[in-house]
Symmetry: C2
Subunit: 186 residues, 2 copies
Amino acid sequence: METKLIIVKAVLRTAESSSFVTHQVPSITVDIAGIPGDRHYGILRPATSRQKMYPRGTMVANRRQITVVSEEECVLIAESMGLPEIRPEWLGANLMLSGLRKVITSLSLGSRLLFPEGAGLICEGENLPCLGPGKQIADFYNQPELAAAFVKAAANSRGIICSIEREGTIQLGDICTIIPYKRGII
Amino acid sequence: METKLIIVKAVLRTAESSSFVTHQVPSITVDIAGIPGDRHYGILRPATSRQKMYPRGTMVANRRQITVVSEEECVLIAESMGLPEIRPEWLGANLMLSGLRKVITSLSLGSRLLFPEGAGLICEGENLPCLGPGKQIADFYNQPELAAAFVKAAANSRGIICSIEREGTIQLGDICTIIPYKRGII
């Protein structure tokens, strides 16, 4: 049986902390708080409307450090929206992978993503689509209705959020090893 | 319908870093790395044989900060072993809860445990029983065979591991609110 390799097809980071939009770089070096200088860097961050169990703005553990999408799902979303492409930059992705057997969005919490130079990420769960990336897509194609269309089209295929488990560098072209969560690996 | 409250029946911490055995205290104040001064305190910790994806001793994110057991499961394990009691101290527990509808061991990854003064924990998954606590039980009852018997008896009922999401104090007698994981609360 041929085993398909999972490849890092794009490595990205935010250019400034005022926007979630990312741009491609050759590599990122992550520490335990994320990508130094990136918008989502930090051991703590303020709670948002996603964590309704805490008052908004309360400082909580930052598990939203790294956004991972798959090339196959970007194609799926584009096809569903009738567009030529969806770029990982518009989704605020930090990594775009290709070659997964299943969509990465269905990866279970606690699964690991490992990279050749040592970096290790933990899957914190599915990233639910919202209007922010939709607006980027709408602006690029100059079609305002695409913002809401994205939220619908990207349901179950907008990728995952990860936090750092082990520090290291992740390079464009790296082979990624995914270890699904199983009991007892805490 | 009567709703049963979930109560903190014991609060515990390690006395020294050389042993996982805990002792009861009136309260603990947790920061983002755990219980300051406790054996399991730290943002990072060395990988053990549980994380076979990393070389042993590699520094990785410390998600093993807080051990939570339930009073009902301690009783279950004791009954299964034919013993009068299993104390949370012997399990290295930091919190013993009572009043959950289901066993706490089956709580899903990413669920939250919230406390009245603001502290919030995230469930990192099930704590698999090992020989360490079994030896404590064997020593106390002076029956060496109890060590291995514990590992068998405590399968699926040895509680969970949590990490800190929000800093704060947890007191004996606090009411704990459990929020099961659902998509999008990252």
